[in-house]
Symmetry: C2
Subunit: 230 residues, 2 copies
Amino acid sequence: MRSSHPQDLTTRARIRDAAIVLFGQQGPAKTSVREIAERAGVSAALVIHHFGSKDRLRSECDDFVVQEFLGRKDELVGEDASTAMQTWLADIDQFRPLVDYLARMLTDPTPAGDHLFDSLLIATKRMLDQQVIAGVVRPPLDRDVTAAYITLYGIVPIIMQGLVARALGGDQLDAAMLRRSTLPLLDLYTNGLYTDSRILDSARDALARTAGPSSDKGENDPNQDPDPPR
Amino acid sequence: MRSSHPQDLTTRARIRDAAIVLFGQQGPAKTSVREIAERAGVSAALVIHHFGSKDRLRSECDDFVVQEFLGRKDELVGEDASTAMQTWLADIDQFRPLVDYLARMLTDPTPAGDHLFDSLLIATKRMLDQQVIAGVVRPPLDRDVTAAYITLYGIVPIIMQGLVARALGGDQLDAAMLRRSTLPLLDLYTNGLYTDSRILDSARDALARTAGPSSDKGENDPNQDPDPPR
DNA sequence: CAAACCGTTGAACACGCGTTTAGTCTCTTG
DNA sequence: CAAGAGACTAAACGCGTGTTCAACGGTTTG
């Protein structure tokens, strides 16, 4: 990852890096030990010799990527998590293998992936609280829900690279697309999408009316908005 | 799916439904033909007999789920796509197998999944345009980018069910969580997140300054906001 | 120098996979 | 009733997988 020339690295490290690239590109399930070995220029047996099993190799990759991401600290690092993501995305063409790997971790639920998500969520909550106090962010209706979706929306470009690129007319997410996304997204976060509170108000009414648990099928659909809300 | 009692269905349909459930839960890669056969109460050979191969079974499941979702129409249906999603999510406990399957389709890129996403994106664009004309939605800075992220944010709860649930303190996304999410999300889409346009403005400045292609590493980081923007 | 060690390998093993084959059973049809 | 068709199965085939094994060569150590 950090290596300019592959021959600078230990064989062990080369195997790990090869695994990270392939796991990130294809997912661990569709990546064979022999494939990793070939990319690292070694035999399949050596991969097992160094890591014990494919599963242990995988979890070692998990730890390595998370460590690289959170900046060589095991504990939750708060602020660093979000700035790290910005750094990686800003230079996505350089960090692509690691970003791809992160996407896999967050997609199919693994202990390491869940832990990573928790770190991001905690970082977001902390930052949200700070910025509410600082008067930069409006006090949210439901702090935990808001933090949850803010976090999720933040990792959308990572997890759904392919779809973002597709929607923006490319085949691979690159720096230009992210650059183009910056202002529209900040505009959304600053001014919202709707001109007024009509839709919010009617949703509030509808929810208050059906205070009970579940959905009366016949309620007069208040959401004529584009699909996202909800 | 629609069947109250499994024995009402053709064997073929029971196999297909079993496949949809398992593909949705575990992903096609980690689901074996024998597993599908067992769940359907038949032999593995019969699965192949009816569908030719596992791949053809999979693509038949794709078609079936998309058809159920878009409402028995092959062509892009525009408005229906977004309302269908609301319907399915509102009754997620009932539609979970299909929602899970949709998540897989959108996650690992397959032709059918890409087609589905295109349908959703087109529907969102159309609806966005309408609502701008109707004065419900503010004219966006970049219509295509806005539509892209609106669409993506809309399918986040589908694709990242697990993470949403985790962030909200449950183990599985249910109707109560979605209900709780409604107002905070509409609030975000109505009033935005920030109190004023400070952050938007400084980002605009920073972007204007580095008008060129790439990133000067030394620019004075304007984004002190929670991770999501960008 | 011999011994121990370690990185490394090709070959083999056991297993689960998707698929094929050959056959049985149960209907329908002439 | 005979013949054919189609639903269905047990068994096996071929293959790719993760992993093990025995051995080789170079370096370090007593």
